[in-house]
């Protein structure tokens, strides 16, 4: 799984996605083809601002392995200001979350390939303010 993680490092660390110059839509994670324009699409890499708002969320008690130590933790469906949506961990008190809450991207540790393996970093979100 080492190359699999390495390959996507830029997109995870920097919140880099795609923008189609033909239709003006933004996508995260990045896409090779625009699902609206397909062959007519002109997909370019784009750096997202990292700001967005919460559309929905869950406080997860039955955690996936890498998040086990953090349970309960919050994952949220976030609409980035550019328009793309992302499902990402949200680091905050679960009782403070509201629909539409403004959030911003932060750089955090996601887990590791065991004690001897590489460390996975990526983008999580925190409330603004």
């Amino acid at each position: 799984m080492l190359p699999k993680f390495w390959r996507k490092i830029r997109f995870r660390y920097g919140l880099i996605g795609s923008y189609c110059e033909n239709c003006g839509n933004y996508y995260y994670p990045p896409r090779n083809l625009c699902p609206r324009c397909r062959r007519k699409g002109k997909v370019k890499e784009v750096q997202f601002s990292g700001y967005g708002r919460v559309l929905s969320w869950s406080v997860v008690h039955d955690a996936v392995e890498n998040f086990w130590i953090s349970k309960p933790y919050v994952v949220a469906l976030i609409e980035l200001d550019e328009g793309a949506r992302i499902i990402a961990p949200l680091d905050c008190n679960p009782r403070e979350i509201e629909e539409g809450m403004r959030v911003r991207a932060v750089f955090r540790k996601f887990g590791e390939d065991g004690e001897e393996g590489i460390i996975h970093y990526g983008t999580k979100f925190v409330p603004i303010g």
Binding site: G14, I69, D91, V106, F107, K109, I119
Partner: protein
């Protein structure tokens, strides 16, 4: 004119108070607090380490300077808690900043002065015309053996300084004093550092800071009263106050940059977060002295002169804002967060 073009800081939001640690280990909290001048310390969250702290403070610095990350020519991360023993933290940071691939990078380790070592290297590289901008970061999630005196202060945080021309604070001069003094160390494979107890004082901290600072003052022909602010490495609140007095500085000069009572000793971030909190309030023309200390042992001393550019520079959120934004945890949560207990 070469100096600080921008700076950013990061302090994890969790805090543990000295009373809570003292309660667990049967120490008298009041005695500890009086002895160290420290009330509480910052604790990294489960998903934070030196790399994440370094990225967060560097992103703040980049945002404030509005510099294209591609113009950064060198990245140095100084820490004694690099997430990997072999594999640089700096490449993680540079990738997250979007520096590209054409940059020079190395991790630094010199106990608590690895961050200022990075500033010196960047300063030299910019002056030599090798790079336009260099990023120097001091960041740590410092470890301490449960029950050890270090546990009251060893904390987490970091600061990033972007060095270049067209700066908000010019580096007027720098001077280092170094010797082989084993006052504090961590051997390969050991989870916690060891130290020489009271030996970390006079022959280590005080001698090196005193000599580096004195050397800088002599080199620049300046005296303590020429400075508006002075920042020393702050393993506790007492040491910097005492060394200031030894050198002829007043308490008022030290106070603005003294953050250790509220966040503890952030190791490689310690003197740098102190400098950042001074820059948060500094006015054009003011002069700042900073002397770091790293066990092992050495001190880097700097004189900065604040320029007019600081007036339009975005300084919010300030170090003080970050000190205030906190959440208190108990000792059980603390040992879980620090991975002192494992499943």
């Amino acid at each position: 004119m070469v100096g600080i073009v921008s700076y950013g800081t990061y302090i994890p939001r969790y805090r543990i108070v000295v009373d809570e640690i003292a309660r667990i280990w049967g120490e008298d909290a009041e005695v500890v607090k009086r002895g160290l001048g420290v009330e509480q310390k910052s604790v990294p969250g489960l998903d934070e380490d030196t790399a994440t702290i370094a990225v967060e403070c560097a992103r703040e610095a980049l945002r404030r300077a509005k510099i294209d990350p591609k113009k950064i020519g060198a990245v140095f991360v100084g820490s004694e808690s690099h997430p990997y023993v072999v594999k640089p933290t700096g490449t993680v940071v540079a990738e997250a900043l979007g520096v590209g691939n054409e940059y020079f990078c190395a991790d630094l380790e010199f106990a608590c002065k690895a961050g200022t070592a990075g500033i010196q290297i960047c300063y030299a590289m910019v002056k030599a015309g090798m790079i336009d901008y260099g990023v120097a970061i001091g960041a740590d999630t410092s470890q301490s053996r449960p029950g050890d005196a270090l546990e009251f202060t060893a904390s987490a945080g970091g600061a990033c300084f972007i060095i270049g021309r067209n700066c908000i604070a010019e580096i007027e001069g720098t001077f280092s004093f170094t010797s082989d003094t084993p006052d504090f160390w961590r051997r390969e494979g050991q989870p916690y550092p060891s130290h020489g107890g009271r030996f970390t004082g006079q022959p280590a901290y005080f001698r090196h800071i005193f000599m580096a600072t004195k050397g800088l003052l002599e080199k620049l022909g300046l005296k303590p009263s020429d400075f508006n602010y002075v920042v020393f490495h702050q393993p506790n609140a007492k040491f910097p106050m005492r060394v200031a007095k030894m050198l002829g500085f007043g308490k008022e000069q030290v106070r603005t940059g003294l953050v250790v009572p509220y966040i503890g000793n952030t190791y490689s971030g310690s003197s740098l977060i102190g400098l950042a909190s001074v820059l948060d309030v500094a006015k054009p023309g003011e002069r700042i002295l900073v002397t770091s200390y790293g066990s092992g042992a050495g001190s880097d001393s700097f004189s900065f002169v604040v320029t007019d550019k600081i007036e339009e520079f975005e300084r919010n959120p300030t170090v003080l804002d970050k000190i205030r934004e906190c959440e208190f945890i108990d000792y059980g949560t603390y040992v879980k967060f620090m991975r002192k207990i494992r499943r």
